[in-house]
Amino acid sequence: MTLQRLDGKTFAEMILQGASHLKQNSQMIDALNVFPVPDGDTGTNMNLSMNSGAEEVKNVQENHAGVVAQALAKGLLMGARGNSGVILSQIFRGFSKAIEDKETLTTMDFAEAMQGGVTTAYKAVMKPVEGTILTVAKEAGEASKDLASNESDFIPFMERVVNAAKESLKRTPELLPVLKEVGVVDSGGQGLLTIYEGLLANLKGEDMPAYDETVTMDDMVNAEHHKLAQDFMATEDITFGYCTEFMVKFEEDKLKRNPYDEERFRNQLSEIGDSLLVVSDEDLVKVHIHVEQPGDALNLGQQFGSFIHIKIENMREQHTSIVGDRKPANEPPAEKAEYGIVTVAMGDGVKKLFESLGATVVIEGGQTMNPSTQDLSQAIVKAHAKRVILLPNNKNIVMAAEQAADMSEDEVIVIPTKTIPQGMSALLGFNPEAELETNKQEMSGLMSVVKTGQITYAVRDTQIEGLTIEKGHFMGIAEGKISSTDKDKLTAAKSLLKQMVDEEEDEILTVIYGEDVKASEVEELETFLEDQFEDLEIEVHQGGQPIYSYIFAVE
């Protein structure tokens, strides 16, 4: 059966299916949104705009294609939301103008209307940005003209129009650098393609399901950005070595403890890697990220449910094999690195935190088992670098660190960090490109922006600064001064934080809990913090450190 002429009724049904197909996929389109403002609302906006257009179309009584198109244009204009919505309304305004007095349409009419839409859409902008919905509309419109001259049957015609739009969308990252950076196609263009696909599905009498998530993920993360990177970088230049993808199925009980907030989750992930994509619906969330510590990303995801799919690839290995590097991967480099960072930590979790922040060697040590000068000297050798930065993270180790630095043949400097939070804060200021002196100034400066709080227990009865402390009770120490005491760990922690946190100034609180703290206690503390300090961003890490039940970093 061929369809040579499109009447108003059929056209109206096509539009309604285009709108519903867009609606089904609007969340996925939100996830692609990085341009012009990466606020993740393109799909939502397009859906609201298109929906307003569809509502108008429903009210049309006449079987007249031109009238249907006009109704669509009017509804879109009134309900236009966001950049993408305004552009969509312009495309269909031009479309309807071209066919306003046509009762039925041929493929030729349809192609002309598509062209008209593009012309109108381009007129309303001074500097059209290519690589966006405009480009997809333009290229599909251009293709439709050639197609219509050879094809009068609507179904094959529309099939090819949709394919042209698809091809155009695939090319958007080549035109708009920000898309390539993030490794996505343009969200507005994806929205337009989704509408076209709905139009075609209706012609074929098919029901179009929402995009299969697994397909979208692979589509969205076009393999291009993995490939392209390889032409420009050496294997050792890959910062985030693991391409990590996973899907988490939400679980009720976990969500009760950790309500899922896509934006927050995305922000947490963006701090540990790049090329990030997060797509979620009611039942599951899917993540793609390039990250150096895949475990960290997995842990973040596992808070909300259970894994149903995990894929982790070592991009350095892949890269080495692609580039044809003959060096075996595990052979230690004969050359000394430019920079090494040696730091002292206690507890596995804290050690991992430092490693994730870029420390080369982390020595076990801390309050009661201070590393000796020799331990530190060995660590400097192990760092195998021309220039080494030492972060002692404890006032009792600063001296030993200075001595080790003097003895070393490498250029070694000590940033006199007295606490774990100071060490972390200083490490964040490290710039591998900068001179040693510059790093010293920068890192020393950052050391002081963070306030340190600690909770530990008293080993004997004592009186300090007007506080009576009993053996076995917990003490809150703010910036080295004992400021609260209580026989209950949690109470001591709460009162310490109440004293420490300045709601006006402070933005982030990092909680590192020790080996003696149970998960339930941490949750209770978290709940308290969220109630007490509404605007504070709270990060919790398992430090596993002895002696200190909690270490707090406030900044």
Binding site: P36, V37, D39, L77, M78, A80, R81, G82, N83, G85, V86, I87, S89, Q90, R93, G94, K97, T120, K123, A124, V125, M126, K127, V129, E442, G445
Partner: protein, 120 residues
Amino acid sequence: MSVDLNTKHGHITISNEVISSIAGGAAVECYGIVGMASKNQLRDGLAEMLRKENFSKGVLVRQDDENLHIDMYIIVSYGTKISEVAHNVQSQVKYTLNKTVGLSVSSVNIYIQGVRVTSE
């Protein structure tokens, strides 16, 4: 008139012309805008479309205490939803200023000075 930022290494002064150029540049990339109008047009009596190099003429940067306000005089395309175009300009200008010079703007006020009807 300028905006001062203090950093550890000294301070940075950004002149209002720079801010208005950036704001103007962000605005003209916005969909639905077809031109900037001179802010003096009330005195000049006609909405004269500004040439490219004079974007900033249609952008006024005001400061009170700590706050930064931007007034923009724009010309939009006929047939677009003007309220939405204006809203898009606001969010794009705000975002661009924040991204490029780290300024957070208290308000972006849009004055629609004209609608351009193109021959269709």
